[in-house]
Amino acid sequence: MLTVSNISRVFESETGEVEALRNINLAVRDKEFLCFIGPSGCGKTTLLRIIAGLDQPTSGEVLLDSKKITSPDSERGMVFQEYSLFPWRRIIDNVSFGMELKGVPKHERYETARKFLKMVGLDAFERSYPYELSGGMRQRAAIARALANDPKVLLMDEPFGSVDAQTRNILQGELLRIWNETRKTVLFITHSIDEAMYLADRVVVLSARPGQIREIIEIGLDRPRVRTSVEVNVIRERLLGLLMEERTRGCGETVCWTGLELGSD
């Protein structure tokens, strides 16, 4: 079980202090699919980085199975918003990277890597280099790499942010299937209400900066969900309302740009 208790994060820079997160409390159930949604700059990435161990909170702590998280390790895999494959490694060597470090023999790690490449539909590309793959394929390879390391928790920061809407829908379907097969706890940041509605068990709505938990919405609908069904629409309306409020609140002083995709896609 992953517990986030009283996390705050203040960035200090020459231009002044930025309070990114304030008093975040969250208990993530095991094998849960949790989505985060909130205005741009509200600290979603920061929160995920703290859970990964890549950033330290100003106060508060994160516990995974009652162990305090202080530095990154292979228990928590992360898929970044940016492309993050190692360009000098073939796809299969990218996917085997974590196992290579653990000293798993080559044929064994390739076997595991192939299994995950197959899972994300890239088995034909194991000998390719990252530049030979499309954006969506690269993100799938990055997901395979994170999964092949067998983490307890998978952290995903807008992994489908830069792929087109059709591909995105397909990737969401694949991700759910993989999640079903592997049963990891998934923490998933998105800007798209539609995406959150399709994927999540629960959706955490964050407020405008400083990021606080505004509300946690239990979706409670069976999968696969129909994106246009009445039940989905009811919850979507609620999420939309919450986000609109946050958007106007966060824009009191400056020009408003939240980057939220309010429509469905």
Binding site: G53, L54, P72, S74, R76, F86, P87, W88, R89, Y131
Partner: protein, 265 residues
């Protein structure tokens, strides 16, 4: 794919025709100018005279090539052996960077040739002493480029490696920073080889009794400018071959993941 490669080759072959013609015209103009305009082999030996020199000197030249390549080899090996590790350490560890940076900034602008007196006093008129001058010329481009390559390693890739369990400095350097800096290191070595070759000639002109550079000076003293010209051309050709061989080697190794990595073509 195969057809594409084939057509590229065909284009190349056709282009060589123009280049050979260009060289041919140069030789003809040279010959005509030397014979009819200058008419003095001391001021401008003709093409045929220089070719005759190649013929008479071939035995000596073979020996001189060996000596010069040895000086070059000593200097380059030491340059790589010192430049790469220092570049790595300075690029990775901030403190080491701060310790050595001021020293390097002061020593680097001193032209390598200015070290010749001290090289002779410290090491004597030996091959090592010539190698030392070459080393001084080679080490800084290698060090600076390695350093830059390490500074430019993408933060996302480092963090990706960390969440995959690669958390020790040693592993991060070996598995992420070094492979990602290979193109920069290769560029550094290539620049260094150009400088090193100039240093070979300079070092041999002072205080050596063999080598290509020595012979340029030696034959000038004997007023055999045809021989001088022959040695000059030889120097050029060897430098060209070394550069081509290195680029070929590097590009073969890197072309898998990055194309045209070594600057120029």
């Amino acid at each position: 794919m195969a057809a594409g490669a084939g057509s590229v080759k065909a284009v190349r072959r056709r282009r060589y025709g123009v280049e050979i013609a260009s060289l041919f015209v140069l030789v003809v103009i040279w010959q005509l100018a030397a014979d009819n305009l200058v008419g003095n082999a001391f001021i401008l030996p003709s093409f045929t005279e220089v070719m005759a020199s190649f013929y008479t000197l071939q035995g000596d030249m073979l020996h001189d090539i060996q000596i010069s390549l040895m000086h070059f080899g000593i200097g380059m090996a030491a340059g790589i052996g010192v430049g790469v590790p220092f570049g790595v350490a300075m690029g990775w560890f901030r403190t080491i960077d701060r310790i050595f940076d001021p020293i390097i900034e002061i020593v680097r602008p001193i032209p390598p040739i200015a070290w010749i007196p001290f090289a002779i006093i410290w090491i004597g008129l030996t091959h090592t002493s010539a190698g030392f001058i070459v080393f001084i010329g080679a080490v800084f481009p290698i060090l600076i480029n390695t350093h830059a390559g390490f500074k430019n390693v993408s933060k996302v890739l480092i963090e990706t490696a960390m969440v995959l369990g690669c958390t020790k400095n040693y592993d991060l350097i070996r598995k992420v920073a070094l492979p990602s800096a290979v193109p920069d290191i290769a560029t550094g070595i290539r620049i260094a080889m150009g400088v090193a070759w100039m240093c070979v000639v300079a070092a041999e002109m002072f205080g050596m009794t063999s080598g290509l550079g020595y012979n340029i000076w030696h034959w000038k003293d004997l007023h055999r400018m045809d021989h001088v010209m022959a040695y000059m051309i030889l120097l050029g050709f060897i430098s060209l071959s070394i550069d081509r061989a290195f680029r070929c080697l590097v590009e073969r190794r890197l072309s898998g993941w990055r194309k045209g990595i070594v600057a120029g073509s």
